[in-house]
Point group: C2
Chain length 240, copies 2
Amino acid sequence: MNDQHILRAYDRDLEAIQAHVLKMGGLVEDAILKGTDALTARDVEAAERVRQGDKVIDALEESLNDEVARIIALRAPMARDLRVLLSVLRLSASLERVGDYAKNIAKRVTVLAESPGLGGADASLKRMAREVQGMLRDTLDAFVRRDAELARDVLTRDEGVDQMYNALFREILTFMLEDPRTITPSMHLHFIAKNLERMGDLVTNMAEQVIYLVTGEKPQDERPKGDRTAFMGSPGANGA
Amino acid sequence: MNDQHILRAYDRDLEAIQAHVLKMGGLVEDAILKGTDALTARDVEAAERVRQGDKVIDALEESLNDEVARIIALRAPMARDLRVLLSVLRLSASLERVGDYAKNIAKRVTVLAESPGLGGADASLKRMAREVQGMLRDTLDAFVRRDAELARDVLTRDEGVDQMYNALFREILTFMLEDPRTITPSMHLHFIAKNLERMGDLVTNMAEQVIYLVTGEKPQDERPKGDRTAFMGSPGANGA
């Protein structure tokens, strides 16, 4: 009876923790889309709201950490339960970082507000943002449903984000070479694209974390890394 | 007697964990310096060694995670001990990320090997790397000695790294505007500078973590953020 009582209390704790993660995740998804929308609309006020919203995300991470520590100290969970709780710490740390990147995108709206859009760059950024947000949503679903298949599906999609980034990197280089007046806004756009690419990497790490939680196995290392720009010389130097 | 026995076993566990963190930290310090040296020397082989070395850092993080989970499950540590163990998880996650950034710097050596150095950029990057490495060394010392003062000192130094980054950002923009042939190497150099600036931020977070561990207090939020480039238009548009 007493054991069962403890069990139920622990389940309630765990449910509360998961709801907390989902809430945090929902805010981060929102920040990704709204940060990028604010950018493409050159909407300084919307950007400011995204920046303010990041404080809520940070506070949620802190209280999640405290809550997990409290449960570990109180319930002394064993093996599998502990694994779930430690996963939550890692997932929330990644969420906080994704939120930070969204805030950094919003920060650049001010300086870009004076620049016209460059070619199809805005549309590409929006596409990247939507894809990363979708990957994050599915990762959180996979976490709550303990669905390793769905998490594996997320892994395969990161390469698409990387490819969008690579294409945009080359496009931005071309803008700068063709018209030096675009150099300053191009540098900022490039930052934003790189931030979205990094968000994709973080979400991919989260999906790997979910797979490990569900199956106990780490996905084999060295999945295809799609950011090839570290090796890129001038546009045209290495085709496609 | 039995309690004392348990206490001693826990202390031994904790010492082993801390030695493990220091080992990982030492490798990351090395990667920061050697990655940047490989870059400024345009030494492709040295860069490859840094990239390979990152696998060891990643493996150390994984085994540290497993070890912490094992100790929590085995010893069910309370309050303060648990706080130390959870801090270790956060510190090692940050170390792993700093190591990743160092690896990313090393990755760009190949493409930059064909480019001559640009102005004083190489010297600036080396200065940034040395400063970040020093901050990391002191943060790890502060952790082991539970020295909040030393950790606070690290916080004040991040602004210096940010200022070096800001100056370099402006310098790089100027290169590109003056000579479009420098655009491609400039983009890579800029990435590297930004990676070093982010490493400084991560080390600062680690120092805050140490302060929290020692004092139980989180340093007040919103310390001065030194990266102003998110608000920078063309060089000269906003002085200093």
